[in-house]
Symmetry: D2
């Protein structure tokens, strides 16, 4: 079962091997909403991403979406229900790799928009110091994070969502639960590959 | 010249020595907007605060107000122009001590409301890990932070301001400046007691 | 049951009310090893500390002692067995208030030396950004941290111990346990007032 | 001029394309001291690293070496003098990419050993939350960090060095300077690509 959002190559894959100069005029908007050509800049073909996954760690951002109250306290934690590649349903967080020439902030905004839609109104943090760095390995047991496809280094952020969520693409639903709810434990146990541990750390960091 | 907002005792000082049980029904609203009796719970008389200042470090929160763009980047940094106790004008940040039985979040919200008004719409962070801890001493030169009145331990936070600022009380004006503006250096040099260094660290932490 | 190390006034209490100028020649050594007069500078009499505890939050440092391996990973977490004021045995961390005119680093080093002895060789962090800030209130249930004596704001640090521990004063023993040991859960459940939650957050922050 | 340590392919490059199972028995020692085959596991051929550099961001660790005093304060900051690929001398920090199947801690230890030798005795942090994340782009001006070869995402750590430094390989010398020395500014101005800004942020984070 895949444990992170995957690159889903399509006919419009376009950028592998192109000159770096092509990025000179790329704007955040191009990454976050695409360039009208189907994939954001920096997207790779199935062949290229597969080869690289066997050669080096892949940088990811991983976002724990939360609802906060007036004083900034976490009132609810969000998780996604998604259709996995094998057709099963999985519970996960918002996660995706950082693309070539994309900033971390663009990657965070793009992945949130991809999963929660364009009117989620995420409140990105003023600083990019992650609350934790999760190291996923393709070898089970090497760390508490496991991803059969790759070695991924995920910078993890808590991002308050101020707007409305309209699940997109493979995302079927977004479910919210209070940090002190019994349901939280159930949700965390449904997250594969260590993503539940990331939520626990997010709540520890948030003081809850 | 005072370098931190001071407790300004008035006739309605009321809480020194009272039983702790009195706090059982205190709400965040009581701290942030007062209880209709002039001062928030936990306020001390001039005599009590003065005595304590000579005996132990006083916990403070210090807020660097910022305006952020859609991606969370700091677009502008705010500073306050205030009337100091000696009648002079000083440039400072938003700062105040944490009151007895007040949470850090309440102290942050209360001090922002006190200086920027009720519709500033501050976006408090999901986690309370400060970007730095500033240690103010009454002895010049002991650290880079100096406060002639006291030994203060200030937990420092960057807080985006999403609403409108209506300066209150001793605050005359809020001035905003871009992080890369030449004016920033002028502003920082006008901040006494090391508050300018706090802004520099805030921007370093924010990646700018 | 007391949940934090307490000030234990003795006949040599000396500093309440003295002029601030007396601190001009105080050295870190004076705080950490005392001045030969029984208590470090900044110590308060029973009457003064009691009065202040009813008036304002008291700044504390709280240290999670750890043993680390060559790569800096936490191999063991330490906890203290102490004689409480009522004669019972309690399990706790290293904690103490920051004294007047004492730096955070001095407070950390002093409290470690007080509990673990002079040859513990603590490795203080290069930066003083705490992994969490624990807010203890005298009202049960207001936060997950409870201290019947006071409102305390504790800056929490993980500090590797490289030397030998010789428990001092009220400290009977230091016990070490691996983060993945079943015994850890037992130990954490024996810590009152929320100190167990601080260990959990320390381990979450440390990636374990 | 190259601004980060580079992969220097040699005849013993061996791992591109091999099965992941080969990593099952790799130890930290293999990464840090090599396997006797010239390069650590995860090393790539010149062709593979070059192709990947044009396709995705490369994860790096970047270390600011420091000397600390008994209280953990930064007494000196280190920088390296190195022979660049074009034969010129450059001043830089300790930096290197994270290899496939290598943990962040192994990458930090390996790169320190490579530059400072086997008896530098680095004190790795108990937690891996970086003080900043530096985003290097091959397009000048996109961020304050620039690397003509690649888009690199560098997790930045301050690491105290407790032992003796024996510069290795391309590293000619390690020079130490006090944070308040005038020489620091000169050194920082000699660091290309934004590495000087990383030192500034490290010192801001360390409270100096």
């Amino acid at each position: 079962m895949p444990v992170m959002n995957d690159e889903v190559p399509d006919d419009s894959d376009f950028d592998a091997g192109r000159a770096r100069g092509e990025f000179d005029h790329v704007t955040p908007e191009d990454f976050i909403r695409g360039t009208g050509r189907g994939n954001p800049p920096g997207w790779l073909s199935a062949r290229d991403i597969e080869r690289t996954r066997g050669q080096m760690p892949i940088p990811y951002v991983e976002i724990v979406p939360v609802r906060t109250d007036d004083l900034g306290r976490v009132a609810q934690v969000g998780s996604l229900l998604r259709v996995a590649d094998d057709g099963s349903i999985e519970r996960t967080l918002i996660t995706g790799r950082v693309l070539f020439h994309e900033t971390l902030r663009e990657a965070i905004a793009r992945n949130i928009a991809k999963d929660l839609g364009e009117i989620a109104l995420p409140v990105l943090p003023a600083g990019l110091q992650p609350f934790t760095v999760a190291e996923f390995f393709p070898t089970p047991g090497l760390s508490e994070y496991y991803d059969p496809r790759q070695h991924a280094i995920a910078l993890c952020y808590v991002v308050p969502i101020a707007g409305d969520c309209k699940p997109q693409d493979e995302t079927l639903d977004v479910e919210w639960v209070a940090p002190d709810s019994d349901v939280l434990e159930v949700f965390l146990s449904q997250m594969a590959g260590g993503h539940g541990a990331i939520v626990r750390r997010a709540l520890a960091w948030a003081g809850q």
